[in-house]
Structure formats: structure tokens, C-alpha cells
Point group: C2
Chain length 124, copies 2
């Protein structure tokens, strides 16, 4: 047996991310696909700081989940892929605790290296 | 007649950009769709500086065109759209003067405001 690691391609990472997130398994996706030192880059005008690290990304998703009162639905596009990069659109229809029902939409751009996501960047 | 301006939607801007660029009419697309103070944001690791302004963007495209020896083909994806943002993938197969044949691929993210593109950001 070879000890060489066969990395997932950008398309394989993109399709797996979309597959898991459409099933609501966002934290599973982060655990499986994020590099340990992933950068999560928020919009310049956003309320959240950019964070670094897989554990911090997972903690943020867990925190977001606790803020949801009711989840009405979401829609994630097929990925658009070029080289080590891919992008998706992501719509979410949720009632946030104390904030009422909101429809959110964003473009997310991902950078893949050695079969893992090393950055995600949000545009909304 | 109303003097109110009816702006193109993000989807209309996205589809028009893709339509013109697939016809090779990149400068026409810039003239028609870019805001006067558009920002063209290059990758952090890129060779080109970020530029501001429609005229500078057009001048850069004209400069790029002069560097092409032979154009072999390109492929532009359908746009992925969310709110005021959209993204596409863009592949180009060109022989650059003195640099040989190159296949380039990139993700581009656009921000639309009042029916015009106010920023484009490249990822490659």
C-alpha cells in the first residue's frame, strides 16, 4: 500500500460541502473539510470579525445555531469552480430569537488546498 | 413620462455581463455596466494593483488585449446570484506575446448598486 495521501479535488470538496450543508450538516462539513488554520473572512461592513482556525469556525456555527428559533428553509446553489476556488450562493429563511423572521442571502467563495478548505469569504 | 430611473436588477446586470463577455465584448460590458467609481480588486498575491474607476478599468482591458497574440477560447459560467452580489467562473485559453500559451481560470465576484457594478473581485 502507498502511504501517499490522495487529496480531494476542488470539485470533490465543493460537491461534498454542498451535499452536507443541504442536509443541514454544517458542522459535520466544517469538521470534514476545513483545514486546521482555515480563515473565515466576513464582509468589511459586517458585524462579525474574521476568525482563524477550524475550532473557532465550528464554535461560531454552534453559537449561530443557538440563536435560531425556527428554521424555515434554505437553498444552496450548485458550486461554480475555477482552479483552487469555488463559489456558491446560500439563502436561508430563519426566525432568530428576539429578531423575528429573516431571509438572508449571500455569496461564499472558498479556497481549497491539499483537499481542504483554507478560506471562506462571505459577500452580502 | 416618468423621470424616475428604473435600475436593472442584479440578475439583469449579471446576465447582460455574461452575454457580452461571451461575445468577447468585454470593454462594451465595462462601458455599459460599470459604475464610474467601480473598484477592481485583484488577489492579494496578484501582480496587478487594485484599481478604481471605470476609465482605468477600460484602459486595463485595452492594455491586456494588446498583450494577446492568439485567442483560443474562453468559457464563462452562468452567474450565481444572491442579493446585490453575483459570481461567475471564467476560463481563458490564450497565447500571450512572449509568454506562450496559457490556460487561466478564475472566480469573479461582483457587487451591484443602482443597476451598475460597483466592484469586481478576482480569485485565482
Amino acid at each position: 500500500m502507498s502511504t501517499e495521501t490522495k487529496h480531494r479535488s476542488t470539485a470533490e470538496v465543493a460537491n461534498r460541502l454542498v451535499e452536507l450543508c443541504r442536509q443541514g450538516k454544517i458542522i459535520d462539513a466544517q469538521k470534514e473539510l476545513f483545514a486546521d488554520d482555515v480563515h473565515c473572512i466576513e464582509p468589511a461592513n459586517g458585524h462579525s470579525p474574521t476568525i482563524t482556525g477550524k475550532q473557532a469556525a465550528i464554535a461560531k456555527s454552534e453559537q449561530f445555531a443557538t440563536m435560531i428559533e425556527e428554521f424555515h428553509g434554505e437553498e444552496i446553489s450548485e458550486p461554480v469552480i475555477a482552479g483552487n476556488w469555488f463559489s456558491i450562493s446560500w439563502f436561508m429563511d430563519v426566525t432568530m430569537k428576539g429578531q423575528g423572521r429573516q431571509k438572508m442571502g449571500e455569496i461564499v467563495v472558498y479556497n481549497v488546498e491539499n483537499g481542504h478548505i483554507i478560506s471562506e469569504q462571505y459577500f452580502f
